[in-house]
């Protein structure tokens, strides 16, 4: 038996405290926007990538790590590892890396891995737009390349696209006609177009 069972006043107080505040949609929109902005750059967080063939997820960063390890093993096996290199001790630690990926990844050079596209999420807040797309130097400013999907409830648009690591200029094309900067990102004058664009840094600095 709890305390409140015998105490109507306490029971009444608990009933009072259980009253829920009404749903504040503006607050929800702010929360979702802030959360999406905080996860804009996947550099600090692993991104889950759906593997279509098997229908399960893998950690992208784990895959990159394994690929790097496999590449090093590949160099060792092929006798291309220079013992005079200052990174020699690494060879011992990766000797136990899984053998399976080496068949396909042993020729992958570190520079290739560094340029591998990284999934990047873009979020845009506009409840009145009918169509929004991300345009930038990564998709040759093509408004049909990365069309965003609208959240049915709060007017947020989002899309996740793979982008090669580095610094990119972008913006949002609203209703195929109005170029709009991302209010959550820093802006810079784009040397190519002479106009301002938003900046995103993809990957680790």
């Amino acid at each position: 038996m709890s305390d409140a069972d015998h105490d109507p006043m306490l029971q009444r107080a608990i009933d009072e405290l259980r009253q829920l505040p009404p749903l504040d949609r503006d607050a929800v929109r702010k929360v979702v926007g802030a959360a999406a902005a905080a996860r804009l750059s996947p550099a600090d967080e692993p991104v889950f990538v759906e593997r279509a063939a098997r229908g399960r997820s893998i950690r992208m960063w784990s895959a990159i790590g394994m690929a790097a390890a496999a590449a090093v093993v590949g160099f060792v096996v092929r006798g291309q590892w220079r013992t005079s290199d200052e990174r020699t001790p690494v060879a011992a630690s990766v000797a136990a890396a899984p053998a399976a990926p080496t068949a396909t990844l042993q020729t992958a050079a570190p520079s290739e891995l560094e340029s591998k596209p990284i999934l990047q999420q873009f979020v845009f807040d506009n409840a009145r737009a009918r169509r929004v797309s991300v345009v930038g130097d990564f998709n040759t400013w093509n408004p049909t390349s990365a069309v965003m999907r609208r959240s049915s409830n709060v007017g947020l648009w989002s899309v996740i696209i793979p982008i090669s690591p580095g610094r990119h200029i972008y913006g949002f094309m609203v209703d195929d006609s109005v170029f709009t900067l991302d209010p959550r990102a820093p802006k810079v004058r784009d040397a190519d177009l002479g106009t301002e664009g938003s900046v995103v840094i993809v990957g680790r600095p």
Binding site: D3, M9, L10, V28, K30, V31, V32, A35
Partner: protein, 214 residues
């Protein structure tokens, strides 16, 4: 209590054998589980903004209720709830679905509120007397404050006097409806200690209210 008046419990809760019937108060509370599609959390893990929005909409009012009651400065509730969901979204890829989502959310929210209260206490130590915190709770003496619900404000003022560590467990159990075994998993505090904290919070709340309404 008739079967029809009992809250419907989720299948997962039933399978885990969580005893939600230890207190009759539990049976009187509104349904705990928010009406989320089972795939919503999985989709949110993959970065689906719609799914994450659905989660925020489902839990935002409850989080606000908890934060307002927990924080020394209730005006910070909205910021703390936002901070909680930001942390949650960043950590979603690491969420394991065998863990109960709701417990995980309130664990993060509890951490945020505790941190905010500690910071607020440090700040107040340098600026105002500790009792002044109570003055922030709405009262008829505060100009510009709506005072339609005297009982409700008295309850909140009395609850604000309960020490944080007892108040948190009281809120989790009686207001948010978590069973003691679940709170034990969330906080790492033994059930016997949890029950004692709830009892102390109840006693204090009762005695404060009795001073005025007894």
């Amino acid at each position: 209590m008739t079967r029809a008046s009992q809250p419907r419990l989720g299948l997962k809760t039933a399978r885990r054998g969580i005893n939600l019937t230890t207190s009759p108060l539990f049976l009187q509370r509104p349904a705990l589980a928010a009406a989320l599609d089972p795939t919503t959390i999985s989709r949110a893990k993959l970065g689906d903004i719609d799914a994450f929005t659905a989660i925020v909409e489902a839990y935002h009012p409850r989080c606000m209720r908890f934060a307002r009651a927990m924080l020394r400065n209730p005006d910070d509730a909205e910021d703390m709830v936002q901070e909680t969901f930001v942390r949650l979204y960043r950590a979603l890829p690491r969420y394991e679905e065998r863990q109960r989502f709701e417990s995980w959310l309130f664990q993060i929210l509890g951490n945020c509120c505790r941190t905010a209260n500690t910071a607020s206490r440090r700040h107040d130590a340098h600026t105002v007397e500790d009792d002044d915190v109570l003055e922030r709770v709405p009262s008829p003496d505060m100009p510009g404050t709506r005072f339609d619900d005297e009982w409700g404000d008295d309850v909140r003022r009395a609850l604000a006097e309960v020490p944080d560590y007892n108040r948190e467990i009281f809120l989790l159990h009686y207001i948010e409806g978590f069973a003691y075994d679940e709170i034990e998993r969330m906080t790492g505090i033994k059930q016997s200690a949890l029950k004692m904290r709830v009892k102390r919070a109840s006693d204090m709340l009762r005695s404060r209210l009795a001073e005025r309404y007894g």
